[in-house]
Symmetry: C2
Subunit: 314 residues, 2 copies
């Protein structure tokens, strides 16, 4: 295990072939954007490359793989993209894989076990790193590569709103926009809402409670609510940002009931309050402003645990 | 009246002094961002400059004028920024003014009567033009100038979401971000919502109706609703984007009751449907994707007029 430079990461990709790119579970726009952009770039210079995704590609991201077909070869060089820890690599993604050769990530808390590790936690999205690598390898941009990069940098920043955005994020967006249908990508990820999603948002507001003198807002969704509204995974996305938006709230907590008596917890915080540290108490992790964990128990039990922890923390 | 180049606009500003900058009524982030950025830039090179704003500066934009104080001089060169038509210049803004010397704008439908006119309708925000002029005049950026520019380019694009965004918009954002507290600006304009605003949004969803086979969604707010929720002008902002977001909707219409039996209408459309042309039927105007007009009548009358026009138009 060794930490390498961006240059070395680009060299390793140039030197090897027959790649398999690993994405994290509950795949989001950044891990998928990285994988598709890098895959199309590597194929463009004559290399073989496949992508491993946990489960089905979420329907909203189908535009990423319209020109993608699995290639037939034995994977020889394994690269994880935007994966923060081994727990985020599902059995299906790791199928047939012993070791990870290269880990490319932007999570400060990265703990992936890999031969070579490149982490740049100043990157708003791992796609910023992938862009720089593709540029360094002098692979010309095309629609597929640009769509992946734009998807990663835009979704991981809430379309350039979040505080992790940097001038570099904007510069990269400006460079890839001419090659891809970013209007459609924005429309899918930031504009259009189904009626089911709107109704889910409205229902979530009904669950909102405030603690720590208004500095903490907590909301929840249950499986029963999802069923009642016909809300699938697409409808559940982005809900984690709702409680933190309220005036005066420093920490927004969203509890989402999953099957098996487990709640998936998303925490969003203002500058100066470390969401990743808060989630670490519950064996979770993430970024300073956006982190998550899983807690077992009933709605009431899990909520109480979180409220107690939040009141102590704030 | 003559149409001039960007270079000529910069030259006119260099040659003259004792400026008065005119902003449009219902001042938004772009007209204010232009005025404050240009004012601080002109003062920086030793010129005198004041800004005319219709009414009070909206409280959310107070960060723009923290270093601004009116100067004492007789205005000699009058510049309108982001003003599309003479009707958008209120009596208070035009007080003591006979002629406009220079009009700087990005509205395709611009009809301001001015000695010199520079319109660049490819600019997402008029602030993009102001940035280019400041760059051309080689005036170094500072916090006040950068905060104005960032406010304009971000608010007129919904934080780089809308289809009017271009690579140039992103490049300008990247260039001004290091000088200003853009995190605070994003927080104010795109993140934080008061409880009153959340409740106003929820109430608006209750008014939503669909026409033209689901391609048109129409919502309204009344003065009574505003009073019931304690919603001021800040709470009413951004509501125009709600109906267009719904899956399948091509044209979103928001009716807002003002005093005196008048409704202010905001129209937002998908690419390919001209909102400005639609609003022109009601003596309004704006951009292809975002336009407005005013219609007199009762809620029912105004709604019927709009629905009939929309069904014909779509």
């Amino acid at each position: 295990m060794r930490y390498i430079t961006l240059n070395e990461a680009a060299s390793l990709l140039s030197e090897h072939d027959n790649f398999r790119l690993l994405t994290h579970s509950y795949p989001d726009g950044d891990t998928l954007g990285c994988a598709y952009a890098l895959c199309f770039a590597l194929r463009k210079i004559g290399k073989k490359c496949n992508i491993a995704v946990d489960g089905k590609l979420p329907s909203k991201f189908r535009y990423l793989d319209k020109n993608y077909k699995d290639q037939d070869f034995e994977p020889a060089y394994i690269v994880s993209v935007d994966v923060a820890s081994m727990q985020l690599l599902s059995d299906s993604v790791m199928k047939g894989i012993k070791d990870i050769d290269l880990c490319i990530d932007h999570h400060r808390t990265n703990s992936v076990l890999a031969e070579n590790i490149y982490v740049d936690s100043s990157a708003a999205a791992a796609c910023e790193i992938i862009y720089q690598i593709i540029e360094m390898m002098e692979i010309p941009l095309d629609e597929d590569i640009a769509a992946g990069i734009y998807t990663g940098v835009s979704t991981d920043t809430g379309c350039f709103v979040y505080t992790n955005t940097t001038p570099r994020t904007h510069r990269i967006a400006a460079l890839v926009m001419p090659y891809c249908d970013w209007k459609n990508i924005n429309n899918i990820n930031f504009v259009v809402k189904s009626i089911a999603k709107v109704n889910m948002e409205r229902m979530i507001y009904d669950t909102m409670e405030f603690y720590a003198g208004g500095k903490c807002a907590i909301v929840y969704t249950t499986i029963a609510m999802q069923i009642a509204l016909g809300a699938g995974d697409d409808e559940m996305e982005g809900l984690a940002n709702i409680p933190r938006q309220i005036e005066g709230v420093m920490m927004g907590i969203t509890m989402r009931e999953k099957t098996g008596g487990v709640f998936k917890i998303s925490v969003r915080t203002n500058d100066g309050i470390d969401a990743a540290k808060f989630c670490k108490q519950f064996s979770g992790g993430g970024h300073p402003g956006a982190a998550g964990c899983s807690i077992e128990g009933t709605l009431g039990e899990v909520k109480l645990k979180l409220i107690e922890a939040a009141e102590k923390y704030l």
